[in-house]
Subunit: 413 residues, 2 copies
C-alpha cells in the first residue's frame, strides 16, 4: 500500500479514536491482549522466519535474543497491554478553565496528538507496546519496523487488527509499513499531511537519520552519555554502590553511567577502591592523567572518550578541581539524559541540580532510575533528550496535546 493511502486511513481512524470513551478503549485493549495469546502459534511461526533469516545473515547473539519471541514473551506482551488498559486515561482532562473579563470561559483540554509515526529497530515487542500506548491516548499509529523483524511485525499487527475489527473499531488504528526500504522510511519522515509526530526508537544512527531527514515534528529519544560526579565530600561506599549499579546493572541501556567525574582531592584515595569494585565485572577504566597517577593498570582516556556512549563494560574518569569544573565538563559532553552527583554537601547538591542541563539530574542516586516505570508513569514510550514537548521519560501524557475550548455568548472584539 502507498504511504499516502496509509496516511489517509490513519487520519480516518483518528477521527473515531479521538472520541472513543475510556471504557471502550480499555475493552479493546483487553481483547487485543487475548487475541495475541490466541494467535501465539502464528506469531511464533512468523518469528521463526525472522530468526532463521537473522542466523543466515550472521546476526549477533544479542540481537537474535532481542528478536526472539517465545510463548512467555507473548504472554508478557499481552500483560503489558493489559497494564496500559489499567492506567488512567489522560484524554479529556480539562487542565484549566478561566473566565475572562469579557465573559469568555477559556478552557484547556487534553486531546490526542492525532497520528503518531514510530520508527524502530528489531524488537517485535515494541509493535504491541507502541500500539497500546498510542491507542490508549486516542491516537492512530503508523509503524515502521526494521527488516529483521518484518515477519513477526506483520503477524503481530494482523492479530491486533483482528481484535479491533471484532470490536467494530477501525483496524487502521494500527498500520505497519511493510516496505522496509530506506527510501520509504525517508518518505515516511516527510508525510506532514498525515503524521503529527515521529518518534524514533533505536540506536544513535537511527535517531540521527530521523532528525536529519524528517519534516514531520520529531521527539528525539535515547542516547545517553551519563555522568556521575563524585564530590570531595562523597560517602565512598555510597559512591561505589551507585557507580557499580549505574555502570553494570545493564550495559546496553541509555541511562547507564558512561563517565565519572572525580574531585581532585579524593582521586588518590578513591581510584584504588573504584578499580577493585569495577574489577568484579571486568569493567575497563579509561582515566585522565590524575586518575592514572592514582592507580596503576588503567588505560588512558583520549579526548574522544569524553563524548562516547560505550554501551559496554567501559567507563572513563575525568579529574576536576571542584563543582564548577565538574558542571562545565558535564554540560559540555552530556547528551541531555541523566546526570548524578554523589555528595554530602548541601550547597553543591543544590548547585548541581540547578546548573546541570539534562532531562534528569540526581543527587545521591543511580542514573538507572530514568525510566517511565521507575518514575511511576506506569508506561514508557521512550526517553526524550530534547527540550520541546516532553523531556525525560515519556508516559501517556507525552502522547497528548491540548486544545482550547471557549464558551461565549456573542463576544466580539
Amino acid at each position: 500500500m502507498d504511504l499516502n493511502e496509509i496516511g489517509a486511513l490513519a487520519k480516518e481512524a483518528e477521527t473515531v479514536l479521538r472520541n472513543l470513551g475510556t471504557a471502550k478503549k480499555n475493552e479493546a485493549l483487553f481483547a487485543v491482549a487475548q487475541q495475541l495469546i490466541k494467535d501465539s502459534d502464528s506469531l511464533l511461526t512468523a518469528n521463526e522466519k525472522d530468526i532463521a533469516r537473522g542466523k543466515e545473515n550472521g546476526m549477533h547473539q544479542g540481537l537474535l535474543d532481542r528478536l526472539l519471541l517465545t510463548r512467555e514473551r507473548i504472554e508478557q506482551m499481552a500483560e503489558g497491554i493489559r497494564q496500559v488498559a489499567d492506567l488512567e486515561d489522560p484524554i479529556g482532562e480539562v487542565l484549566s478553565m478561566k473566565q475572562r473579563p469579557n465573559g469568555l470561559m477559556i478552557g484547556k483540554k487534553r486531546v490526542p496528538l492525532g497520528v503518531i509515526g514510530i520508527i524502530y529497530e528489531s524488537r517485535p515487542n515494541v509493535t504491541a507496546d507502541a500500539f497500546a500506548l498510542c491507542f490508549k491516548t486516542g491516537n492512530a499509529v503508523i509503524l515502521k519496523g526494521g527488516s529483521d523483524a518484518i515477519c513477526s511485525n506483520i503477524a503481530i499487527v494482523k492479530s491486533i487488527q483482528a481484535a479491533l475489527e471484532e470490536k467494530q473499531l477501525p483496524k487502521t488504528a494500527i498500520q505497519l509499513i511493510e516496505d522496509t526500504s530506506r527510501e520509504t522510511a525517508t518518505a515516511f519522515m516527510k508525510l506532514n499531511e498525515y503524521v503529527d509526530v515521529l518518534i524514533p526508537r533505536g540506536g544513535a544512527g537511527l535517531i540521527r537519520a530521523v532528525v536529519a531527514n524528517a519534516t514531520v515534528p520529531v521527539i528525539e529519544t535515547g542516547t545517553g552519555n551519563c555522568h556521575i560526579f563524585v564530590d570531595e565530600s562523597a560517602d565512598f561506599d555510597m559512591a561505589l554502590d551507585i557507580i557499580f549499579n549505574a555502570k553494570t546493572q545493564r550495559i546496553g541501556v541509555c541511562n547507564a553511567c558512561v563517565s565519572l567525574v572525580v574531585h581532585e582531592h579524593i582521586i588518590d584515595t578513591f581510584m584504588p577502591l573504584l578499580k577493585e569494585r569495577l574489577a568484579e565485572k571486568q569493567v575497563e577504566i579509561r582515566g585522565d592523567e590524575a586518575a592514572r597517577h592514582a592507580v596503576s593498570g588503567i588505560n588512558a582516556a583520549k579526548e574522544e572518550d569524553w563524548g562516547t556512549e560505550y554501551l559496554d563494560y567501559i567507563i572513563s574518569v575525568k579529574t576536576v578541581s571542584g563543582i564548577d569544573e565538574a558542571i562545565a565538563h558535564i554540560n559540555r559532553y552530556n547528551t541531555g539524559h541523566s546526570e548524578a552527583i554523589i555528595t554530602k554537601d548541601y550547597a553543591n547538591a543544590q548547585k548541581f541540580l540547578d546548573e546541570v542541563d539534562a532531562a534528569a539530574v540526581y543527587v545521591n542516586a543511580s542514573t538507572r532510575f530514568t525510566d517511565g516505570f521507575e518514575f511511576g508513569f506506569g508506561a514508557e514510550i521512550g526517553i526524550s533528550t530534547q527540550k520541546l514537548h516532553a523531556r525525560g521519560p515519556m508516559g501517556l501524557e507525552a502522547l497528548t496535546s491540548t486544545k482550547y475550548i471557549i464558551y461565549g455568548n456573542g463576544q466580539i472584539r
Copy 2:
C-alpha cells in the same frame, strides 16, 4: 560573524541566563526599555534607510507601514518590554514533586529552553518583542530578520546589547544574523548543535520553508483558514455580528474568519442578511450552489476556495446538511487554528467543541480572540498551529522546558 560562532556565544550566554534571578532579569528589561528610548535618534536614522530602500524597491504601502518606526512606536516597543518585565516569571516553578516507594523524591521543574532561533519578516518591533520574551524566560535568542528591516534591526539589537552590557550581563543574550541571504537562513535552520528550537514568524511561505528545511525542532505558527459554522438554531443577529467582526475587524491576521459553513435549513433566509451586512465593508462573497441560489449577485466558490486563506475582504460560503457535515468539512480544510459554531443547541455546541480538531474551538464568539493577550497570558510569541509542545497562543510558558530533579540517599536498582 560565522553561524557557529554565533551559536557558541549564545550557548555561553545561556548558562548565565539560566540561573539569573527574576529581579535581575526585570531590572535588565527596564534598562533595555530606557535605552531604546534614549537611542531613538539612531533607531529612526537607521529605519529611514530601510524605508528609503523599500520605496526604491516599490514596496507596498502596507508593508512600508509595518516597517516604519516613529517616536511613538519606539515608545510602544519600550512599553511592551516593561510589560513583559511585569509578568510573572515561570522559570523555577516546581510543577510536581512526589516521593516514590524507594524514597526517591522526583520533582519536575520549569527551566528555559536554552537557545531560541526566531526567523521573521519585516516588522522591526518583533526584534525587541522576541528579545523580551526570550530573556524573561532565561533563554538566549538568535534573530534572523528580513533584509527589508536590516538597518533597523541592527540598530535595535545594538541598543539592547548596550543596555545588557551596562548591567554586566552577556550582550550575546541577543544576537542578530546580519547576513540576510537564503543560504545563511537555511544553515541557521540546521544549527542543531546550538539552537534548541526555531520559531518562524511570518507568512505561509516563510513557515513552509522553515518546516521543509529545518533539522532543529520547529514550532509552526500562523496560517489560519478559520471557519464559522452557522447552525440551524443560530441567533441571526449574533451570527452576523460575530461574522462581521471576525471577517472585517482586521483582515491580514491569522485569526480572521475565512470561510462560513451554513446549515441548509437557514441558507435562504440567512444569505440575504449576510450579503447586506458584509456589503458595509465591500466583502466579496464566494458561495456554493445553494448559497448562490439563496441570494443573487455573489460569486461562485471553486474547490480551491475551501483551502485558501484570503487575508483579504473575501469570504467563502459552504452549505451543509447539519453538524456532522459541518465538522467533516472543517476538519478537512482547516489549518488547525480557530473554528467557531454559532448555535442555540446545547448538544451541537458540545459536539463541535469535542470533534473539531483545532487549537481553539469557540461557541458563540469571534475567532479573533485567539491571541495571547486576549487569553490573558500578557504576552504572545506567536500562535502555534501544531500539536507538539504548544498549541494555540503561546505566552511565556511556551518558551520553557522542564527537567526532573531527583533527591536520593543512595538508591540503586
